[in-house]
Symmetry: C2
DNA sequence: TCCAAACAATAGAGCGCTCTAACGGCGGCA
DNA sequence: TGCCGCCGTTAGAGCGCTCTATTGTTTGGA
């Protein structure tokens, strides 16, 4: 397998190794004659620069370390995709490992990633302690995505989940709903913010909040909806922790003979491909995850290239995507005329 | 950021660099006294071996290059997850890039991955020409997943898609269906095999085949179902290219007033998380993708460790997962009694 | 005609590690 | 007592590249 080295190319082209190096790096100060000779020799030998050796010698890396919480979750897969595309455009490669939502494993992964001295580190939905991230930040720039964190050395990219929750509540209230419950995301990332946004929005509309403990999974949605039907059967609308949770809730509602949206309106969060499926057609809050991945890379590059020293905390605006799981409540015509003026079309 | 080197540790521990190297590699022939001193010095300095330098010097890599076709597709995300777990267990890291289903990009990605001289290359659903894979195989062991390929240097992991197609048809025929159509996967990986399996199985049951050109996407399912309803409205069962395709088909069927499975039974392929959603509850053919990812790593390690010289072509047996989108046809009771004997329960 | 400046090319010292060969010191054996 | 072999340790030569400093070689201006 012994691949050709720079030395081989130099020998064949009748020049020094240094000259080959210059050609490989597209230096302008090489005569076109020599350049041609080197290029010819290189292609003849099938030469390809050795990335590791290059990075060792030049001590700047073209690798970005990526820790992703969980690839089973479509949301993170999309984030990785955004990261990959942006990195690819800038000539970077990804060294990727999954953390499986376990703290110990994440710590180990961060350690491994750092041992490659990457140009930067991107943490997608990390659950590890801020202290650990800060430790990593002393070796290499770090960006955390979907995880707010106040450390001055760690850039973050998140969506404004409070605003997102408000969008959902406002939409439902605008349709005339008054009993709007929230199946929350438990201890998951951003769950606290969505809860807070929900509470604030409900207060704003003068409605009583009702939060059911749940989590970011389909099963969580099933159980949450079941609990809700038991405790508060009069509820007419549901704001779910995320799309997966919403789909679970819908399944449970339908199993108990209710129709969505006729008997219950449901809103999800994330606007994953799942929500967009015609068979599901879920009204949801859009989080621009592809864009978030791209931005994470951009922030990293700013640090790598020394264009920025101060911390960056990007918060993207979510938007509402109305599909077919939300509608006016059925029997509340008498209580909603005042709101109708706000909903022209 | 200047991190500690082996030299620093050696100096601090009062030993040679070579000795530190031995300790870092857990060599047995180091006195426990010196070992302790080195370990102490290393932790004090926060020393971490430099993976790149190590690989350059020892010329064996702990990195596996991974080309993944498309992370948006849950199927591939799951494959990557399996690969990641197996690799992690064996102390390998993944260098990952996506090919976006484009040949040119895949070629470029393979080139980039090789420039890191990885221990091996895993191609998940590649669309690139066999010739290119063979070229890569001269630099490093290569395993292709979900892509059969006859080259003697390229190991493969696939499912037996012909058998999978047969499972689907046998299930539907067993329920009493006679007009079973297939929305195919076009030029996609394994699509030709599923077509062939479908044809063979239909022939086996003495049924007339009907193949509608489609693709591995939701939209393909929508369009395919529409075309089917136009051309062959008497069809009572549908075997779809994959789950995504099936979900699209179901949406279209429901939009045209049909009920699944009352008016049309639908079977998918892959058994992705999507199919398992209670709201979808799709009968489908299970492909053990997590396992396939693990096996890919295992094959690579066999080559890397020199335990095998001959080509390996693993073909996994798919299995049928019956859920709620398949049932007996409605009005064909008179034509099916002969089949009922085959379906005891 | 001469020298400075500009340009092309190269030598050689690393980058942080591994690994072979060799070293010194010790105990065991004749 | 002398020699051999073993063990723990180390020197030093790379791995394939980058990059600074330096050497030649032209060119242009005075």
């Amino acid at each position: 397998m012994g691949r050709a080295t720079m030395e081989d190319v130099a020998l064949r082209a009748g020049v020094s190794r240094s000259l080959v190096s210059l050609v490989m790096r597209d230096s302008p100060r090489v005569s076109s004659a020599r350049r041609a000779a080197v290029v010819a020799a290189a292609t003849e030998l099938g030469y390809r620069p050795h990335a590791l050796a290059r990075q060792l010698a030049s001590r700047d890396s073209t690798v970005l370390g990526v820790l992703v919480s969980d690839l089973h979750n479509q949301f993170f897969a999309d984030l990785v995709d955004g990261v990959d595309q942006a990195a690819h455009e800038q000539g970077f490669s990804l060294l990727l490992q999954t953390g499986q939502r376990r703290v110990a494993r994440e710590e180990q992964v961060i350690d491994t990633l750092l041992s490659f001295s990457p140009a930067g580190l991107i943490l997608l939905g990390p659950v590890v302690a801020t202290r650990v991230m800060a430790g990593a930040a002393r070796q290499s720039p770090v960006v955390a995505v979907t995880r707010s964190c106040r450390h001055p050395d760690i850039d973050t990219v998140t969506d404004d989940s409070e605003a997102g929750a408000r969008l959902a509540v406002a939409h439902l209230a605008g349709l005339g709903h008054r009993r709007i419950a929230h199946l929350d995301g438990g201890n998951g990332a951003q769950a606290a913010l969505r809860r807070r946004g929900y509470r604030a929005a409900m207060a704003e509309f003068g409605l009583p909040p009702l939060i059911v403990r749940s989590e970011y999974t389909e099963k969580g949605g099933v159980l949450g909806a079941r609990a809700l039907l038991g405790h508060a059967p009069a509820t007419t609308a549901l704001f779910c922790a995320n799309d997966l949770n919403a789909v679970g809730a819908i399944a449970e509602l339908e199993d108990s003979g209710m129709q969505v949206p006729a008997h219950m309106s449901v809103v999800g969060y994330d606007n994953t491909a799942l929500a967009a499926l015609r068979h599901v057609s879920l009204t949801t809050v859009h989080q621009p995850r592809h864009e978030m991945g791209r931005l994470a890379v951009q922030l990293l590059l700013e640090r790598i290239r020394g264009n920025r020293e101060t911390v960056a905390r990007l918060q993207l605006e979510p938007s509402l995507v109305v599909r077919e799981t939300t509608a006016r409540p059925r029997h509340t015509a008498s209580s909603t005329p005042s709101l109708e003026t706000e909903v022209p079309a």
